[in-house]
């Protein structure tokens, strides 16, 4: 069965501590200013009736990824499990993919190519979890294969209320925000 990697992010558990951000930066040796994931705090209401949602966000690894289509050199591609990747050797840094991404998930690396979350595919291929998932002290992040009906991520998506960000784009994002 073809793998379909996805991530469930539990907004109820997350405290927005940024451990995922720092672990990603050191795992992937990102330069200063380069981020593949980030924290969003969304507050609504007025004092003292307030609500807050905290999300750890990253590339949505869309099943219908416009960035891959927008890439003129084939650098942006769909790899194993539907993971959207950039081959930096092929990337010219033209930024067409950045313009096409609804989530602001991509940035220009200081060496000129475009960089983004890889779901830590280099780790996943060795049977490990992505670095952000591994470190998360609140265990808000669950990574796995949606094609496997028994995987934890499938179970979460099946049993919990969730949303995806900007579903109206029709890109079929693969980050599920549990509430």
């Amino acid at each position: 069965m073809k793998k379909r990697y996805a991530m469930a992010m539990d907004t109820r558990r997350c405290v927005g501590c940024n451990a995922c951000v720092i672990a990603c930066k050191t795992e992937n040796a990102l330069h200063t200013g380069g981020f593949r994931d980030w924290i969003v705090q969304e507050v609504s209401g007025t004092f003292p009736s307030l609500q807050m949602e905290i999300r750890s966000e990253r590339c949505n690894h869309c099943s219908d990824a416009p960035c891959v289509g927008a890439c003129p050199t084939g650098a942006s591609h769909v790899a194993e499990g539907g993971v959207v990747m950039v081959n930096k050797q092929k990337c010219t840094g033209c930024k067409a993919c950045i313009a096409s991404c609804a989530y602001g998930a991509r940035y220009v690396h200081e060496d000129g190519f475009v960089d983004k979350c890889t779901f830590c595919l280099h780790r996943v291929q060795k049977g490990k979890q992505p670095a952000c998932v591994e470190t998360c002290p609140t265990r808000s992040l669950t990574f796995g294969d949606l094609a496997d009906p028994e995987s934890p991520v499938t179970r979460l998506v099946r049993t919990r209320r969730f949303k995806v960000l900007q579903p109206e784009t029709g890109n079929e994002p693969n980050l599920y925000f549990l509430s």
């Binding site: 927005g16 501590c17 040796a29 949602e53 591994e134």
Partner: protein, 745 residues
């Protein structure tokens, strides 16, 4: 084409790009770059060294990945009970400390007036000689106890030993009188034992967690946050009492935006409801507690209606939350908090929390306060200092038992600072050794600290970074970071007793040295070499491990050894840890009555600030440990500077209204100006207070990244209110005005 939607458009885009991809495939084959290999960033270590963290004082187990002699990344040690394989951002960002370009690199000797921050590099030999000469001179003229050690952090153990053999009891950490001291005193008066660190609380199994001003989740005590998330996952509910809509408040069933400084009134009203409505655990109290009748009488009039005008919390809400908290007992946890020095009546507030926990029957019960144990470790066999080897021991100037603070259990850092002013105490401090604590930012009233320093004959700073305090020293000794050194074993009291090891992952950079080496060499130079027989920190640890029956190789490979499981709660057969003289939980404290203090906490209104000012509240951000991490460039990426939180309506009502993101100056009641700092104009805070994350606004020249970023809470804390019970320095008694950054005073 009017009907074409974005979806369709994207499909067209994808199809045409497919063609482009084919073309590109051909081209790349021609370039010889065909295929899309999954790139490995190359951060997996060729060596993985288990150790424990020092970015904060939770000391989580860490695995340091080392590749080509460099630490590439830090991950949690899955075997370690405090991290369970997960790290907070600071723990994961420890490489930012190791590779901080601003680190202290060589020993430094002052070359100009004290405090001008002008130094000359020196050899270790010259620097240690200067320290030894200075210490011996102080000893000759004033006695050994005129030397004080201020310390914070695990590596201080070597210097505490130095002090012991040197002959001075004057060892203090600001973590007591400037932080958790009032809590320790309040719980000690009630249960006969302080809370301690890491806190023995069962968040994981609690059904209702009540936070009184504690912003768990923004303060990242790893295990506690892990348990918080697990509890939420299992359906636990939160009651959060905080003037600010904290992260925890955002997850709470009830948020009580209390007027700052009135928590005791709320706690008394909660007790009133619980006792009036007989929702307390009568059976538990009959078995374990004393003073219930006095408590009932004391809170009889303290109704929610009484507390309403004081706290600003509606009586119905007070009643509802009291019932809600009681409904889950005994698995209803009143979190003890940690930083507790707020208003000067903090030990009494902590006592009110401890009493409420007792009413819920949660002390010693699952989902409440647990019984923990320490892993038994043998000491290194070393000649202890002989009693009477030094000059006759004089009364200890700072020991609060002699100085009017009847229930303090540790030496006060602020007390040692005071005792440095001539004639203030029974004898004067003449030399300071400052290990790993930036007193300029940790003690209140910077001016007083600086005045005290000017009276010293000698001041030595041992640190990793050139913090403000180093600028005031005569000699600065650069210590290796926790990733470059061996330290003593850790064995804190925990649910399952354990022992953990700190071992160097890499060699010390620059001319920095590990603490064990510095203390030993200094010991030799002052004629105490016989008390430092260990060859190295590693050998010290190995001897202790062998004496304790722990296999050295296993410990060095795994980083941690677990002890036997112990019963943690009454349900498992444990007895609640009550160690008062009466053997009972003292709801009414005989000890306090005898001392002339309130035997049961009472509410006294805090003083208000000048008109037009806001009470200054301070706290934490999850990426930072006070000012210790604000120069860490990795941790600064998500949070480089603090911002002042101002209520949106209050910001609009200012003489010059302030918008979100505006730069403002903060001016306190004594005219101290801080900033410019960005305003976070938000609904998330009451209108009578502002909030700053502590640890920013550095002024030290050597902290090239952190210097000048954000506003310093320490500088604005010119006033403090001393807790009459234990000498804690309450700091939430400062007020600021907000001015536009452009205007001059």
């Amino acid at each position: 084409m009017a009907g074409i939607g974005r979806r369709k458009f994207i499909q067209i885009g994808a199809a045409s790009a497919g063609v482009a991809a084919v073309g590109s495939g051909l081209a790349t084959r021609w370039w010889g770059l065909d295929g899309n290999p999954v790139a490995d960033p190359g951060t997996e270590g060729d060596k993985v060294v288990p150790t424990f963290c020092e970015l904060c004082f939770w000391n989580c187990g860490v695995l340091a990945h080392v590749r080509d002699g460099k630490v590439t990344k830090l991950v949690g040690n899955p075997e370690h009970p405090l991290s369970k394989g997960m790290l907070c951002p600071r723990g994961a960002g420890g490489t930012g400390l190791l590779y901080d370009p601003d680190r202290l690199k060589k020993p430094l000797i002052r070359a100009s007036k004290r405090g001008e921050d002008v130094f000359q590099e020196a050899s270790w030999d010259a620097a240690l000689n200067k320290v030894a000469e200075g210490l011996l001179e102080v000893k000759k003229r004033h006695g050994p106890e005129a030397v004080a050690l201020f310390n914070h952090g695990f590596g201080a153990s070597w210097f505490k030993w130095f002090m012991k053999v040197w002959g001075s009891p004057n060892i203090a950490a600001p973590s007591y009188a400037q932080c958790r001291g009032p809590r320790e005193a309040g719980y000690s008066l009630t249960y006969g034992a302080g809370v301690g660190s890491p806190e023995p609380i069962d968040i994981e199994n609690t059904r209702v967690l009540t936070l009184i001003g504690s912003h768990l989740g923004e303060n990242m005590h790893n295990s506690q946050v892990q348990e918080l998330a697990d509890a939420i996952g299992k359906g636990a509910q939160l009651v959060v009492v905080d003037p600010r809509f904290s992260v925890a408040a955002g997850k709470a069933r009830y948020w009580l935006p209390i007027k700052p400084g009135t928590d005791i009134a709320l706690l008394l009203a909660w007790m009133n409801v619980i006792l009036e409505e007989k929702r307390h655990d009568a059976e538990y109290l009959a078995k374990y507690a004393t003073g219930l009748d006095e408590l009932k009488a004391h809170v009889a009039g303290k109704t929610p209606e009484w507390a309403w005008p004081i706290t600003g919390i509606r009586p119905e809400l007070i009643r509802e939350t009291a019932r809600f908290i009681a409904s889950a007992r005994p698995a209803s946890l009143i979190h003890p908090g940690r930083h507790a020095t707020w208003y000067g009546d903090d030990a009494q507030r902590a006592r009110a929390m401890a009493i409420l926990a007792a009413l819920l029957g949660s002390y010693g019960r699952r989902g409440g306060y647990l019984v923990t144990g320490k892993f038994p470790l043998q000491p290194y066999p070393v000649k202890a200092p002989q009693a009477g080897a030094h000059a006759p021991v004089r009364p200890v100037a700072d020991k609060p038992k002699a100085g009017g603070f009847p229930v303090a259990e540790e030496v006060l850092a602020s007390g040692l600072c005071d005792a440095t002013k001539p004639g203030f105490a029974m004898y004067d401090m003449k030399a300071w050794i400052v290990y790993g604590t930036n007193l300029i930012h940790t003690l209140p009233a910077q001016k007083e600290t600086i005045q005290a320093i000017q009276h010293l004959d000698l001041m030595v700073a041992i640190d990793v970074l050139p913090a403000e305090i180093c600028g005031w020293a005569d000699v600065v000794l650069p210590e290796a970071t926790y990733l470059e050194r061996d330290d003593d074993l850790q064995a804190p009291a925990w649910k399952t007793p354990f022992a953990g090891i700190r071992q160097a992952a890499v060699e010390p950079m620059y001319d920095s040295k590990p603490g064990w080496w510095i203390a030993k060499e200094l010991g030799k130079k002052v004629g105490l070499g016989e008390h430092f027989p260990w060859k190295s920190g590693a050998e010290f640890v190995d001897v202790r491990l062998e004496a304790s029956g722990i296999d050295v190789a296993t410990m060095r490979k795994k980083g941690v050894v677990l002890g036997k499981r112990i019963a943690n709660c009454e349900e498992d057969g444990a007895t609640p840890a009550i160690f008062t003289e009466s053997g009972k939980i003292e709801l009414h404290s005989q000890q306090l009555a005898k001392l002339g203090h309130d035997p049961i906490p009472s509410f006294y209104p805090p003083e208000e600030g000048p008109p037009g000012s806001f009470r200054l509240l301070q706290g934490r951000a999850p990426t930072h440990t006070f000012g210790r991490t604000t120069n860490n460039r990795l941790l600064a990426e998500p949070y480089a500077e603090n911002e002042v939180w101002v209520n949106a309506d209050a910001a609009q009502a200012l003489p010059t209204p302030v918008k979100n993101g505006d730069l403002v100056m903060l001016v306190n009641q004594d005219g101290v100006r801080e900033g410019p700092v960005r305003a976070k104009v938000t609904q998330r805070i009451r209108g009578d207070c502002v909030f700053l994350v502590h640890g920013f606004g550095h002024t030290a020249r050597g902290l090239r990244f952190a210097r000048g970023r954000g506003a310093s809470t320490a500088a604005l804390t010119t006033r403090y209110k001393v807790d009459p019970l234990m000498g804690g320095t309450g700091i939430n008694v400062n007020f600021v005005r907000i001015e536009p950054a452009g205007r001059t005073a």
